[in-house]
């Protein structure tokens, strides 16, 4: 295991009498989904490269409760929330970075009323600040030269929390052309996964939402659709397959793009 893949858990760190600068909340997708694990690793590499002292909860992490809440099961949401808050408060966590906009939204906005008060940032915000502070050097060689990248705004990062610029500022560091879809930022079209839709078949209609969003992306002829959410990543990847564009369009998280550009 390279030094860049050093991932201490809170339990391990505490046993060593240490305390992290920030807790990395990996999320269910980032922990279990094979594609999303790659995003998790990219985030880890960046954190290690910048010598950010971080830890994960590992087996002590549990679903934030977002999909349960949005599926109408407030009981289960609050049970999950209280359980997570007990763990986080037990470790006296102050600062959290999440690899998923849904975890980010839930912990930042819905946990405080339940006794969980943390400074929560999304991984694009943290990485952007690392770049801005000069802690992370992104000197993109030829990797992305001449590529067209379009950013798909995750609803729970954009409209839900007004974070539009951090991922775009990151993409501007690459030697690529950032192209905007017609529906972007506050007008960005959903990928179709939110509100617990990820876990069920869509209602009867004439098209899948992810296919529609992929078509919108295809209008700007991108080589890469950049995402900031593991669920958007799944939906857009499926959309690209549905349109048989796998050979032309890649779906990659902003963190992965930066990790590649920084040669990690």
């Amino acid at each position: 295991m390279s030094n860049l893949m050093k991932v201490p858990t809170m339990a391990e760190m505490t046993a060593n009498g240490e305390f992290p600068e920030i807790l990395f909340w990996v999320g269910c997708s980032g922990s279990f989904d094979d594609r999303a694990k790659k995003i998790t690793k990219a985030i880890v590499k960046i954190l290690n490269k910048c010598e950010v002292k971080f830890a994960v909860l590992g087996a002590e992490e549990s679903c934030t409760g977002d999909p349960a809440k949005r599926a109408g099961n407030e009981f289960l949401f609050q049970m999950q929330a209280m359980q997570n808050i007990a763990v986080l408060n037990g470790y006296e966590i102050k600062k959290i970075v999440t690899g998923c906009p849904h975890c980010f939204n839930t912990m930042k906005n819905e946990y405080p009323e339940l006794g969980g008060n943390y400074d929560v940032v999304h991984h694009t915000q943290l990485i952007q600040s690392l770049i801005a502070d000069g802690r992370l050097q992104v000197k993109d060689g030829d990797t992305f030269k001449g590529k067209r990248i379009t950013f798909h705004d995750p609803c729970y990062l954009g409209r839900a929390n007004n974070v539009y610029e951090a991922p775009r500022e990151m993409l501007q560091k690459l030697d690529a052309e950032l192209v905007e879809m017609k529906n972007c930022k506050a007008k960005g079209t959903c990928c179709g996964a939110g509100g617990a839709q990820m876990f069920k078949e869509a209602e009867k209609g004439d098209k899948e939402v992810n296919v529609k969003r992929t078509e919108e992306a295809m209008e700007v002829k991108p080589n890469i659709i950049a995402t900031g959410c593991p669920f958007c990543n799944t939906m857009m990847t499926d959309g690209v397959k549905n349109k048989e564009q796998e050979g032309n369009i890649e779906v990659i998280d902003v963190a992965e793009l930066i990790a590649t550009a920084a040669d990690l």
């Binding site: 990996v26 980032g30 922990s31 279990f32 694990k37 998790t40 590992g58 087996a59 549990s62 679903c63 409760g65 999909p67 349960a68 809440k69 949005r70 599926a71 109408g72 099961n73 407030e74 009981f75 289960l76 609050q78 049970m79 999950q80 209280m82 007990a86 939204n105 930042k108 906005n109 819905e110 009323e113 339940l114 609803c155 729970y156 409209r159 839900a160 929390n161 007004n162 007008k187 079209t189 959903c190 179709g192 939110g194 509100g195 617990a196 839709q197 990820m198 876990f199 069920k200 078949e201 869509a202 209602e203 009867k204 209609g205 004439d206 098209k207 939402v209 296919v211 529609k212 969003r213």
Partner: protein, 444 residues
């Protein structure tokens, strides 16, 4: 004298009937559950000023925004003239304010006239957009029948209203030039109104004094009768937004759009379950007040803000136009959610006024108006909330109805039931063991 009495009666009936219907709407809105929106008055005032007064969110679509702004500006500024009309009507004078205000009076009426011409043109374009060009969002399923007629009636009323203004001012211009107007003669040859000093002579130039007098009176009375008809039409129409847009934006949700409410009723129970010191054998505390159902089945389970939203909706359809579920052919239309909520609230309010509080008409918002299929099609993406020019929040109604379905009736799509039991058992929406959560660390 007789005309003063008729006018005073018209005024009383006009305002009285309006006040009565506003009272009904108010009591309907207050059927909703409480939600605290009394904080941050300064911020709220700012939001209201920008969104309602300044129509900031309308300008995301410049063409309808400019047309709408013409109508809006004309409507607001015309209220100044209305003050004079009321003063004239009650005093029996004619153009009471002109001698004192002089040049400013001419400027004000001219300003109103210019805006009225712009509004007249805009109204025609609006009629065309609804009926000729058939803008898609104005011609969807839920817009058939009364909503379509409602939209057209408002526009026609506006055309008539403006026509009366120009009959009144135009004929008066011609009369004034002849020295026959009832307005006090200030020794000038014309009233000097920007539009009617030309339109008046062009339309009514050759007419006799008595015909002109009649046209002027028809314009004057027609205008005020239309104003009161319009006012009293509002509580029965989607057009009520011209008033409710202000309180509705003032009481906007100021929190991040992604933040759903944490249900307090659930919070108490969960806290007790999680408390190691809680006595499991203790008798449950007496519930304070009425026991509320979880989530929303009918209108009274929603908050008063949801209900205010419903009356504020003017059915423009920007929410539905931006809804990814609707765009991909699903049944869900956020606009229909708002229209259903309002229609059910009207129905329920009427039934309660007739049969007394606690009356059950055997119907509910869920099932009789909104189906489960609509509710489960939502991705909670907030596009509808973002799109609404007056900060209506259809998403919170959808989520509260899902809560009712799941927590009171255990009605949940099969796959979601699987996801929920996975979270219950494994702490993840998929069937993975919590112990495996960190396996990725050791995978190459």
């Amino acid at each position: 004298m007789i005309s003063i009495i008729i006018f005073a009666v018209l005024l009383l009936v006009g305002f009285g009937y309006f006040a009565m219907n506003v009272g009904k709407i108010r009591s309907n809105i207050l059927m909703g559950r409480d939600v605290d929106r009394s904080d941050n008055k300064g911020e709220r005032l700012k939001v209201m000023t920008l969104i309602a007064l300044g129509q900031k969110k309308m300008f995301k679509r410049p063409v309808p925004a400019i047309l709408h702004f013409c109508l809006y500006a004309a409507f607001v500024i015309t209220q100044i003239e209305l003050i004079e009309i009321i003063a004239d009507g009650l005093s029996g004078e004619h153009r009471l304010f002109r001698p004192a205000l002089g040049g400013f009076y001419t400027f004000m009426i001219s300003f109103i006239e210019v805006l009225s011409v712009l509004a007249f043109i805009a109204t025609f374009i609006f009629l065309a957009r609804r009926n000729l060009i058939k803008v898609p969002r104005l011609n969807m399923k839920e817009m058939k029948g009364w909503p379509k007629l409602d939209g057209n009636l408002i526009l026609v009323m506006e055309l008539i209203l403006i026509t009366f203004i120009f009959m009144m001012n135009g004929a008066d211009e011609v009369l004034y030039a002849k020295g026959a107007s009832h307005a006090e003669n200030l020794g000038d040859g014309s009233l000097g109104f920007a539009i009617s000093q030309y339109v008046g002579p062009a339309l009514f130039g050759g007419m006799s004094e008595s015909t002109l007098m009649m046209i002027e009176r028809i314009g004057w009375w027609g205008h005020i009768v239309m104003v009161f008809s319009f006012l009293n039409y509002l509580p029965f129409s989607k057009h009520f937004h011209i008033i409710l847009a202000f309180p509705n934006t003032f009481y906007s949700n100021l929190k991040p759009k992604g933040q759903l409410t944490n249900m307090e009723s659930v919070m108490k129970e969960v806290k007790m379950m999680m408390d190691p010191d809680a006595d499991p054998y203790a008798a449950p505390a007496e519930p304070e007040g009425e026991i509320q159902r979880f989530g929303a089945k009918d209108v009274e389970d929603l908050t008063w803000k949801n209900l205010l939203d419903a009356y504020t909706c003017t059915e423009c359809g920007r929410c539905t136009d931006n809804c990814p579920a609707n765009q991909t052919g699903k049944l869900l239309s956020p606009r229909k959610i708002m229209m259903d909520t309002r229609d059910r609230l009207d129905e329920k309010g009427e039934a309660i006024r007739k049969h007394g509080k606690g009356h059950d008409d055997g119907k509910s918002l869920l099932n009789d108006y909104i189906t489960e299929e609509e509710l489960w099609a939502c991705t909670s993406c907030n596009a509808c909330v973002e799109a609404c020019p007056v900060n209506i929040d259809p998403l919170s109604i959808i989520m509260d109805m899902r809560r009712y379905l799941v927590m009171e009736e255990s009605k949940v799509p099969t796959e979601l039931a699987g996801m929920i039991s996975n979270i219950e058992n494994n702490g993840a929406p998929w069937q993975f063991s919590p112990e495996d959560r960190i396996n990725w660390r050791d995978e190459a």
